[in-house]
Amino acid sequence: MQENRGVWVYIEQNEGKIEGVSLELLGAGRKLADKLEVPLAGVILGDSIRHLSDEVIYHGADEIYVIEHSVLKQYRTESYMKGVIQLAEAYKPEIFLYGATPNGKDVASAVATDLSTGLTADTTMLDVDVEKRLLEASRPAFGGNIMATILCKKHRPQMATVRPKVMKALPRDSSRKGRVIEEKMDLREEEMRTKVLEIVKDVTKPGLADAHIIVCGGKGMGDERGFQLIHELADVMGAGVGGTRDVVEAGWIGHDHQIGQTGETVTPKIYFAIGLSGAIQHLVGMKNSETIIAINKDPHAPIFGVSTYGIVGDAHEIVPLLIKQFKEAFKKGGEKTHA
């Protein structure tokens, strides 16, 4: 265990593009590595991805481990897991972080089992106990009104998946230099049990995770017809539409729109919380939004505890006023910029 040294970040790339969360983790990992006085390394696997090494170094890494192989063209648990395990066993990091994306969680779960080590899921806070060299990975527990710090004392590496959009990436610094370590891997396509037949990107519907503005409605909208107001307000701004667990379960809107612990975590610039009280499992999915505007009849609703601006009132009265005034003001504003 004492021989384990260094902080590693799994760099997730899709079609040659590094996922944002991986850069965020390089930022967070840099702090941990500096405290522990060890190097920060990235780990990247794929086909023709060598050119991404520089980007990883520019964003804070001292080292980058690269495995290139034609079999790694698309993400598959069995091939990626094998590569990550090979590197971890050869170079023995003490801390290993992954983005909590579908593929990041997938590979981390498999790797943790094979390495027989601890893995903390969906971390939102990271720190280290320098003396004991312990990773302190904290995450919301039981819906998010309490935080639990998870420790892995006797096994290495200490692993965690980290929620996207929680940590901050460092500014890109192209003067940074680092060491590139290329590793070979023995993989044969005919030995793969799993084949990716097709990848379909849903471009018609931008994911809520990417939306700059989100309008989210809750039970307070009354019924499915009342919920239409949420769509109308979103439409005038070109915003994304979200729903609480209650309204998703009631079928007013699809699962893809659920925001909260069992749905999406979002951090838009502006978040409208309308007709929802702010149950703990909802707050955990949206409270890091930049500006939160809440509309609720109940002045004691917990949502007002996290909102930037609160309106105590009936959504069915306020929202139509908002739509009307927004349309008028936006038209005026538009004319001004044209003039």
Partner: protein, 271 residues
């Protein structure tokens, strides 16, 4: 075809309360339910059985009361179930849980080989999603997570095709049987249970095993002892102060919000 669905009894986190003094769960405050994602997993198995035939078993690890969720699974359409319950399992994290379930699956497959394992995406109390892939690794079968559709099962060439959710879309995957799938809610709606299922469920008693009923168990890998992770501390996040509650008539308040919005004009994707 033999399908095993792994299910978990969880406190309904929608209504659970935390004791602010001790930072522990007030378990009396929340009813224990079948983890919602696991209900979808059982339903997915029912759909597969309707098309391809076979037998559905559910497997759970938990306290003796967890028989209730096995009965609930029978209501949805499972044929039977197994509960492994023992003090030695207590305090297990995801690594120790996947080990215990793996040992139980091993025992089940000796009676009847398993073709497909289905798990919910994650449990709503732990929220990790790590146990399913852990079981698959221990059985050395392919784990496919975030599945939203199961199709084209071919028992002769032992293949299955699934749709798997990824960032901004999905991928279609073909893999060999046996394999382990973890499913999202959108895989299916939960259907109303037919009356005969409900009657059967009311009387159903699952097979109950203790550690001593499983073969070649390494006890050091079970429960708290076999868990590399521990909870260091629980703390309440700093209470948000909350913001500015607006005043004035509804129309004036709406006006103030519009002012805020217009400061961020670059965000609007409208013409």
């Amino acid at each position: 075809m033999h399908i095993v669905v792994c299910v978990k009894q969880v406190p309904d986190t929608k209504i659970i309360k935390i004791n602010p003094k001790t930072n522990t769960l007030d378990r009396r405050s929340a009813p224990a339910i079948l983890n919602p994602y696991d209900a979808h997993a059982v339903q997915a198995a029912v759909k597969v059985k309707e098309e391809y035939g076979g037998l559905i078993s559910v497997l759970s690890m938990g306290p003796p009361q967890a028989v209730e969720i096995i009965k609930k699974s029978v209501e949805i359409g499972a044929d039977g179930g197994y509960l492994i319950t023992d003090r030695a399992f207590a305090g297990a994290d995801t690594l120790a849980t996947s080990y215990a379930l793996f040992k139980a699956l091993d025992r089940i497959s000796k009676d009847k080989p398993i073709d497909l394992i289905i798990c919910g995406k994650h449990a709503i109390d732990g929220d990790t999603g790590q146990v399913g892939p852990g079981i698959a690794r221990r059985l050395d079968i392919p784990p496919i997570t975030n599945v939203i559709e199961i199709s084209d099962i071919d028992l002769k060439i032992r293949k299955v095709r699934v749709k798997r959710k990824i960032i901004n879309g999905y991928e279609r995957i073909e893999t060999g049987l046996p394999c382990l799938l973890t499913v999202e809610k959108e895989i299916n709606p939960i259907e109303y249970s037919p009356l005969p299922n409900m009657i059967r469920a009311a009387r159903y008693q699952p097979v109950i095993w203790a550690v001593s009923d499983l073969d070649e168990v390494d006890r050091t890998q079970l429960g708290l002892k076999g868990s590399p992770t521990i909870v260091g501390k629980m703390f309440t996040p700093p209470k948000p102060e909350g913001g500015h509650v607006l005043e004035g008539t509804p129309s004036e308040q709406a006006g103030q919000i519009v002012e805020v919005l217009l400061k961020n004009k670059e965000l609007f994707s409208v013409n």
